[in-house]
């Protein structure tokens, strides 16, 4: 379990934290390089590779053809040869083209080659949301990777963790699937200027709470924090935990809190069926000391993602939905409660405009 994010540093956005983390590691270690379609253009993957090509040149910030399958294989080979590639995908959905290399090769290489190779590869994939991303630009696919032994899966939800986890991922000798969320990009947090690594496998306890434990994955963490505020209005004290690292998963911290509060609500930025929430609740169900815990999962609606905003609202969780679900878990027989709909969307979300 890690401390909350309050120590030192200055305010930095999530996207700038990603840039800073990559730049500092590239400075430190000449073997680190970035590749992916458009990593060197003026949009810089929504700003997350901003300035890297200017600092490190095209040799280390490589634009690539649209060949996700082979480029993943190339990155794996380069990693096996001792380099430390960061393969960037502007949407996580495109990782579906990389599954063969990631699952059949990267995840398994160390094991099936008897420990004689390692694959220090970082694969960055961004979850799209808002502005009608639609079916194929909105998926949160971390559970697919979490299912496979040999892959680490990390989903930082604030700027501090974005930087620290990216640095840790780069230094890690294993393939790491690094899950970003574009609605988090503009959100600021205090981030140390010096390089630092956030160790994997430690959930971040944002707030202790006595009535319920909210666990938020990726953007879900932000929603849970807002839901905590909303719940205060009705006198409910919600704790908020961000797992940060999905593999390895800090079940001890998460389930410990759930056992203490007696209620657990997991809010994922993904579908729930066989998702991270399912895993957490299953581990809860397997514990003999957790029988008193009331638990629930939330995430994407069990449909394909629509583009029109009216249906998108139904597809996604939001702080009000989270607060209402938490309220119902805490007060199963309480009167109906409708927080102000204005709390539904957060500032960073309302501000978001296209065209992409």
């Amino acid at each position: 379990m890690a401390d909350t994010v309050t120590e030192g540093g200055r305010l930095l956005s999530y996207v700038d934290a990603l840039v800073e983390g990559a730049a500092q590691e590239m400075e430190r270690d000449p073997d680190v390089f970035v590749l992916g379609l458009g990593v060197d253009d003026h949009r810089a993957i929504m700003g997350s590779t901003r300035g890297l090509v200017q600092r490190f040149g095209r040799e280390r910030v490589m634009d690539t053809p649209l060949s996700e399958d082979a480029m993943t294989g190339v990155a794996i080979g380069a990693a096996m040869a001792g380099l430390r590639p960061i393969h960037v995908h502007i949407r996580m959905d495109f990782l579906l083209l990389c599954m063969n290399q990631l699952v059949n090769v990267a995840a398994k290489a160390r094991y099936m080659y008897g420990g004689t190779v390692k694959v220090p590869l970082v694969v960055r994939g961004m979850i799209g949301r808002s502005w009608g991303q639609g079916a194929q630009h909105s998926q949160g696919l971390h559970a697919l990777f979490a299912h496979i032994p040999g892959l680490k899966v990390i989903a930082p939800a604030n700027a501090h963790d974005a930087k620290g986890c990216l640095i840790q991922a780069i230094r890690d000798d294993n393939p790491v699937v690094f899950v970003e969320h574009r609605l988090l990009y503009p959100i600021e947090a205090f981030v140390d200027e010096k390089p630092f690594a956030v160790p994997f496998g430690q959930a971040r306890v944002h707030a202790e709470g006595s009535d319920i434990t909210l666990v938020g994955v990726s953007h879900g963490a932000v929603e849970c924090l807002r839901a905590r505020e909303i719940l205060r209005d009705v006198g409910i004290d919600a704790g908020v935990i961000d797992p940060v690292s999905l593999v390895p998963l800090d079940t001890g911290t998460i389930l410990g809190a759930a056992v203490r509060t007696g209620r657990l609500l997991v809010v994922d930025s993904a579908w729930t069926f066989c998702g991270i929430g399912a895993e957490i609740l299953a581990q809860l169900a397997e514990r003999t000391d957790a029988r008193h815990v009331h638990a629930r999962r939330m995430g994407f609606a069990p449909t394909t993602c629509p583009t029109t905003p009216v249906l998108e609202n139904g597809f996604y969780t939001n702080p009000v939905k989270v607060a209402k679900a938490a309220y119902r878990l805490v007060r199963p027989d309480g009167p109906d409660w409708e927080p102000s709909p204005e709390l539904t969307h957060m500032a960073h979300q309302k501000k978001f405009r296209g065209p992409f």
Binding site: L37, G38, D41, H42, R43, M62, D63, T64, P65, L66, S67, E68, D69, A70, D93, F94, L96, L97, W131, G132, Q133, G134, A135, Q136, H137, A301, P302, T303, T304, P306, T307, T308, P309, V310, L311, G314, F315, R353, G354, P355, F356
Partner: protein, 335 residues
């Protein structure tokens, strides 16, 4: 009336003489103009945030879709990309349903669920657009396979960008389509960019047509966007396919006038210069064909086009959003 839009010949040695009747010209201009104006209107509306999803305009690239679709029959299939407004309209897709779709309305061609990136018009066999580059290429071959299995004389046209040819699915599909002599016309709209990346960091060589030919697929390169040349090549290829011929490939050079996604120009962004645009703008097919028409006729067509676009926008504006329950409809087909 005999027309040749461009004096210089393409790579192909034996290019046929291009003949366009007055009726041809009128029909082609009408579609070109409709696409251009519809997209300009989308660009005009976009900053109002009424269209809350990504749009990829084809302004400047319309001639290719119009040329190819002009030689198709209604029952022929067309597979497209997320940059599909031109082909959607050229294949006969309903403009109202297209604009309403961008508005996220339930009257949209996918009931508000797909937006501009997933246009579809199955009543005209305009196949659903995909936002994942390259995915429609094998799908098009699948339709071709179905045509062959059913002994039909239909064909499939498969549009793709230059970037799509870098995906493994492209060469895998070429091999399979040639092997089974599938009636698929592959049309690469080579606008020289994948988002902001030129061909430089993406293509080892420019020998795309030569590569395609190693699969036993005739390939033609059209350097100047000449609508009539493309129309001829497509017409010949398709006629052969209807007689049992296999796939054919066209690489049509073209230019995207606006930004990759969104309504604006982006010549200040630094990745390309306006000079690059100029030759393409000078030989703009919409203007060129318009100028070939009798002035009165052109004015009349333009007015009709304006009315159609205005009607479609009004339809979109007035249409309702989908009901909440639509969120859960059509995850699965029932039956």
């Amino acid at each position: 009336m005999t027309v040749s839009l461009s004096p210089h010949r393409t790579n192909d040695a034996a290019a046929a003489t291009t003949v366009a009747s007055a009726a041809d010209l009128e029909r082609l201009y009408r579609v070109l103009r409709l696409i251009r104006r519809a997209e300009e209107e989308i660009a005009r509306i976009y900053p109002t945030d009424k269209i809350k999803s990504p749009v990829h305009l084809s302004i400047g690239q319309e001639a290719i879709s119009v040329a190819v679709c002009d030689v198709l029959r209604p029952e022929d299939y067309v597979a497209v990309t997320y940059r599909s407004h031109a082909a959607y309209i050229a294949k006969g897709g309903d403009l109202r349903a297209m604009i309403a779709e961008m508005y996220g309305k339930v009257t949209g061609c996918t009931r508000g669920k797909g937006g501009s990136m997933h246009l579809i018009a199955m009543d005209h066999n305009l196949l659903g657009a995909s936002a994942v580059v390259g995915t429609a290429i094998p799908m098009a071959a699948g339709y071709g396979l179905a045509i062959r299995k059913r002994g039909q004389d239909r064909v499939v046209v498969c549009f793709m960008g230059d970037g799509a040819t870098e995906e493994g699915a492209f060469t895998e599909t070429l091999n399979f389509a040639s092997l089974h002599k599938l009636p698929v016309l592959f049309v690469c709209e080579n606008n020289g960019y994948a988002i902001h990346s030129t061909l430089e960091p993406r293509w080892a060589t420019r020998q795309l047509c030569a590569r395609v030919e190693t699969y036993g697929i005739p390939a033609h390169h059209v350097a100047d966007g000449d609508l009539f040349r493309i129309r001829d090549l497509a017409g010949q290829a398709i006629a052969a396919m209807r007689q049992g011929g296999g796939p054919v490939f066209l690489e049509c050079m073209t230019y995207r006038w606006r930004e990759h996604v969104g309504p604006a120009e982006d010549y200040n962004a630094g990745y390309r210069s306006r000079e690059e645009l100029l030759p393409w703008q000078q030989r703009d097919t919409v203007a060129t064909l318009g100028a070939m028409l009798d002035e009165a006729l052109r004015v009349q067509i333009d007015a009709e086009v304006e009315a159609r676009v205005a009607d479609a926008v009004a339809f979109a504006e007035e249409s309702p959003f989908p009901d909440d329950h639509e969120l859960f409809e059509d995850v699965f087909a029932h039956g």
